[in-house]
């Protein structure tokens, strides 16, 4: 996995800022070219559409040869542009689809986009490879019966830590949210919603069971904890941990799994109180110019062999059971990428809550201003 470490060194991660910059630039150039593309040659593919597809994806989030393989298999040329955050994706589609066929929103944004009537219902008859999805991902709370989205990857938040610096076993959110044991050696994710929901989990609530009182209680706890926290990171916690800047971070399992390949002193745990799942999904936005091709592409990405190649590159947990079966043991049996089932049973998806989100944000602003 030399490629992986190379990527890491150039400060890459699925959601890092640096990529955001590149992504924005690419996004502009490609969407600028979209109009031109769709007017181009009128060669039809099997689907009756011109053989093109516009794919809007996260950076480093596809197999190395996947797009070429798809072109070989289906004769459809995929034009990929990149986004760095769900907010960027949402903002771009908010005023109307600028020409994307397939997008990769996270679970809460699937929910949000369905509510905002931005996604096209999927025709399951055209996606036979949906049978490859693991049972846990075939009917999810954020998209019942998978009417609008197909599972692409999933992640879980937990604690990444440096083993040699720990004073005891790490198994609770307490070390991050409510203790001065690692004073000045803690970095928390600067996502207000995630921070509040996980703190609620620590206090024994569901990630979807927050209310004003719980938010106030958590705000007080985090205000107190702030003195012990070194930084709120922009999803680059793995870099802070790897460079020795901090010893405990709130991060996604996939990000920590990547750096564990470089530094054996690093480990990851999903705390005993449970945690929050995130899942990225393939969806077709309303107004997509090539919906037939989009279905074909989604079906291809869910193929076992194609899915295996994607997982080999991106190292995130795959919801594709058939692809997982083809992967080597150090991926399949990696307890960081696939945490134990008993712990996962305590994890939940956070549903999008339009009333609470501004409250989280304002409370977080107060915490930071305090």
């Amino acid at each position: 996995m030399d490629k992986m470490s190379l990527l890491r060194e150039s400060i890459m991660g699925r959601r890092s800022l640096l990529q955001g910059l590149g992504a924005a630039a690419i996004g502009i150039s490609i969407t600028g070219g979209l109009a031109a593309c769709s007017k181009g040659e009128e060669k039809k593919s099997a689907s009756g559409e011109e053989p093109k597809l516009n794919f809007y994806n996260w950076d480093t989030y596809i197999g190395e040869t996947t797009l070429d393989d798809f072109k070989q298999a289906a004769g459809i040329e995929v034009n990929m542009s990149l986004f760095a955050t769900n907010d960027e994706l949402f903002a771009k589609l908010r005023a109307g689809n600028p020409g994307f066929d397939v997008i990769v929103p996270s679970n809460d944004f699937v929910e949000r986009m369905v509510k905002a009537d931005m996604l096209m219902p999927l025709d399951h008859a055209k996606i036979p490879n949906f049978k490859n999805a693991a049972p846990a991902f075939t009917d999810v709370p954020y998209d019942p019966k998978r009417a609008y989205s197909m599972p692409y990857t999933w992640l879980v938040l937990g604690i990444g830590y440096r083993k040699s610096k720990m004073k005891g076993p790490i198994d609770s959110w307490k070390v991050l949210f409510d203790s001065d044991e690692y004073k000045g050696r803690i970095a928390l994710l600067s996502e207000a919603g995630d921070l509040f929901r996980l703190s609620a989990k620590y206090k024994g609530h569901s990630v979807n069971g927050l209310n004003k009182d719980i938010i106030a209680e958590i705000e007080a706890m985090l205000k107190k904890q702030k003195a012990n926290v070194k930084a709120f990171h922009e999803d680059n916690g793995q870099d802070l941990l790897l460079s020795g800047e901090v010893d405990v971070v709130l991060e996604y399992n996939g990000d920590i799994a990547q750096i564990m390949k470089e530094d054996p002193d690093i480990d990851f745990v999903v705390p005993k109180e449970g945690s929050q799942f995130n899942s990225d999904n393939l969806a077709i936005p309303k107004g997509a110019p090539h919906p037939e091709n989009a279905h074909a592409f989604i079906n291809y990405l869910l193929d076992a062999e194609a899915g295996k190649k994607i997982s080999e590159t991106i190292l995130y947990p795959t919801p594709n059971a058939a692809a997982k079966a083809l992967m080597p043991d150090d991926y399949k049996n990696n307890p960081v990428i696939f945490p134990p089932a008993a712990i996962l049973a305590k994890c939940e998806y956070a549903s999008y809550n339009a009333e609470l989100q501004p409250l989280y944000e304002e409370a977080f602003t107060r915490i930071r201003a305090d």
Binding site: D87, G244, Q357, T365
Partner: protein, 301 residues
């Protein structure tokens, strides 16, 4: 020089494109944003422009006023340090040999060739706990510790890395680093036009160097100082990347709050209101600068 009024057609030919550009890509979007600031969210993607002042009322709550205050303080400190550091640099360039001047100016502008984000990441590798700054200091520390042993003294304790990153110090350092050229260039422009015989006269007539600097050079360079202060202060006030990446848990500035309104909080009306308060402050600054300049011109006359 010809007045543009006498060559209307030429003027129109040259100015139409930029004016259209400015109108389409600056005035209209800003007007939309301004309208949003009097609106409220309805559903996830719709904004109802109802003429409400609720966003402004919320923006002047103590919480946000304190954040504005902090941002102004950070920007002011940054500007002040830039002025203190930039003035000698500008003087040095002014009095450098002519063949060196272009190179020195190039040196000041060179950082602009690299993106701000890249430079900020570079600064992070320098400042972090095991970064270059701490490595060098640790090396010096060990060296002096060894020297003490050689001299028969007690060795120093183990080197404790300094906390240079993720605090307000790092934010101000980063902002000074980024904004220094904005200060040096207008200062240089003002100092370069300065009549040197005045300085010579001052020195000849018995004023010391410091006195000459403060009572002759500084007032004459005042327009440059004011433009330097304004064009350093304004971007520093709106800085968002630097506090985000270099700051600690309490380093948020107003631009970070605005960013969160547009992204995570999905509250564009409130974000617009906050932006416009910042914009009004900026307009006031620019108006103040213009009036100062007019006053200086009148005094000269």
């Amino acid at each position: 020089m010809q007045d543009w009024g006498t060559q209307k057609r030429v003027f129109a030919a040259i100015a139409t494109a930029p004016i259209l550009w400015l109108f389409t890509f600056f005035v209209i979007p800003l007007a939309v944003l301004w309208a949003y600031s009097f609106g409220r969210n309805v559903g996830l993607t719709e904004i109802d422009i109802s003429g409400t002042f609720a966003n402004y009322a919320r923006a002047i709550e103590p919480l946000y006023i304190a954040i504005f205050g902090k941002s102004v303080a950070v920007a002011a400190l940054t500007t002040f340090i830039c002025l203190i550091v930039g003035f000698p640099v500008a003087i040095a360039i002014t009095f450098a040999a002519p063949k060196w001047k272009p190179w020195l100016l190039l040196g000041i502008m060179l950082p602009f060739w690299t993106n701000l984000l890249i430079r900020t990441y570079a600064l992070m590798t320098v400042l972090r706990g095991e970064g270059y700054a701490n490595q060098s200091l640790g090396w010096l520390w060990n060296l002096s510790s060894n020297a003490r042993v050689v001299l028969g003294l007690q060795p120093l304790g183990a080197w404790e890395p300094l906390h240079l990153l993720y605090n307000n110090f790092a934010v101000v350092l980063g902002l000074v680093y980024v904004h220094l050229p904005f200060m040096v260039l207008p200062l240089y422009a003002a100092l370069d036009r300065l009549d040197r015989s005045l300085i010579e006269a001052s020195l000849d007539l018995g004023a010391g160097h410091l006195r000459t600097l403060l009572t002759i050079v500084a007032p004459l360079a005042a327009p440059g100082i004011i433009s330097g202060v304004v064009i350093t202060f304004i971007p520093a006030l709106g800085a968002y990347l630097t506090p985000d990446l270099l700051g600690g848990t309490d380093s948020q500035m107003i631009a970070n709050v605005i960013e969160r309104q547009f992204k995570r909080a999905n509250d564009w009306p409130f974000g617009s209101a906050l932006s416009f308060i910042l914009m009004y402050a900026t307009f006031i600054m620019i108006a103040w600068q213009a009036s100062r300049e007019r006053k200086l011109k009148r005094e000269e006359a």
